[in-house]
């Protein structure tokens, strides 16, 4: 695994990759549109289907992550598919190390998810009449969950960009890997919704952090084999 020669430049390179993706995203808005519209539609369907019913807070926590998960599945693969389709993948491979590309794309996906969360959380609270009793815990779970979502799916997105049925394959391959993350993060959100304290959520938080670290480390180690193929 090649180490970057100059660490000061390394961070700048990563931000350059992310910046390039943000700029090209501003121009076409494919991924953002896909993610946000998907989440909005799912939220609307759930709200409409529930009608006057007011399910328990635990169920709402699970719904929140269903929306986030499927929105992520619809939009996060775009980061690499767009490279393949516009023909810029080769130039990208020639210009940077694998690790730089990985972190650049990882940060871009994370940013997409943050934008999504900023839009969806208020709508979720308004439409579905739920509030998080313990905001700090909710945000903590959200941030850790998004880091894990982005971290685990970036390498899968790179793998899928060379296969044939990209969208379905991305979801099929990502879900099982994300299962421990979903279990932990739904648990944390449930506790946050019903006003638990941080200490109640200690076990899932530890597992979430462990999952994030393991998945990102593994992805960094394996990314070069996918990218430099």
């Amino acid at each position: 695994m090649p180490l970057p020669a100059n660490s000061v430049n390394w961070a700048a390179k990563v931000l350059a990759v992310t910046g390039k993706d943000i700029i090209s995203e501003f121009r076409t808005r494919f991924a953002v549109n896909a993610i946000v519209m998907f989440a909005l539609v799912t939220l609307t369907v759930i709200s409409f289907a529930l009608g006057v019913l007011q399910p328990a807070a635990e169920i709402m926590a699970a719904m929140f992550w269903i929306i986030l998960f499927f929105a992520a599945m619809s939009g996060l693969a775009q980061a690499f598919i767009k490279e393949e389709e516009s023909g810029t993948a080769l130039i990208l491979k020639l210009s940077c190390d694998g690790i730089v590309i990985f972190f650049g794309k990882f940060l871009f996906n994370l940013l997409l998810l943050i934008v999504l969360a900023i839009l969806i959380v208020p709508l979720f609270i308004v439409l579905l009449n739920t509030t998080a009793e313990n905001w700090l815990l909710f945000i903590a779970g959200l941030v850790l969950g998004m880091i894990g979502l982005s971290g685990a799916t970036t390498i899968i997105a790179a793998i899928v960009s060379k296969a044939s049925i990209k969208g379905a394959l991305f979801t099929v391959l990502s879900f099982p890997i994300l299962m421990p993350l979903l279990a932990a993060v739904i648990e944390i959100t449930k506790i946050a919704f019903i006003d638990g304290r941080f200490s109640d959520a200690a076990a899932p938080i530890q597992m979430l952090i462990a999952f994030d670290v393991v998945m990102i480390t593994l992805s960094v180690m394996l990314f070069d084999f996918v990218w430099r193929h």
Binding site: I155, I156, I159, K162, A163, S164, I165, L169, V172, L173, F175, P176, I177, M179, P180, A183, A184, A203, P204, M207, A210, F211, V214, L218, S219, L222, F225, V226, H229
Partner: protein
Amino acid sequence: MWWKFLIYLVMTAVIVLAFITASPMNPVSSLGGPEVYRIFYFHVPQAWVATIAFLMAIFFSIRFLQTRRMDYDVKASTACRLGLLFSILATISGSIFARMTWGEFWNWSEIREVSIFVLLLIYGGYFAFRSAVSDEQTRAAFSAVLSILFGVSAVFLIFILPRIYPVFSLHPTDSIVNGRISITMSPMVAIIFGLSLVSFTALFLWIYKLSVEIFTLARYRAGER
């Protein structure tokens, strides 16, 4: 050759003994009485063999990425294939076991049942991916990466998740979670269980060896190198 007969003998002995000796557990509650627990002699070794298979797949995938030799790709994918097969068997036998002891064929709040289901999805997805890529080198390289990622997730699911959520586990927690093989197993039960474990592993290795030979020959036949 002689070891094949040994496998035949030991496995036959295990199957016969599993049914004629005393049942392994005195149940607190079960729909079929103590007889039901005999499936334990078969269910646990299947799950054990599936885990070994997935760990072997990780090893061969790493070797493939280091050396780029196609025979490691054949070995890794065969290990995944057999791992999937034994996971399916473990799921079926577990489901029957669950119906007779806990009352339902499937229970989503049981963490190990969820884990084995996700394992099936994982390795099903692995083969879905393999069939979606036509170029051989790409397929081999990406499958290797996937099987390492999936193998680590499988470790997470099998070993770590049930220990974090022992509350959601109907499986006996003191022998699985804490690693102490239950001391209440009588010597006869321990012997039969041990023999079953060994013979299932030997059977798996035999099937594995045959499968690798078949796939390698198929590749030579097809003219690839």
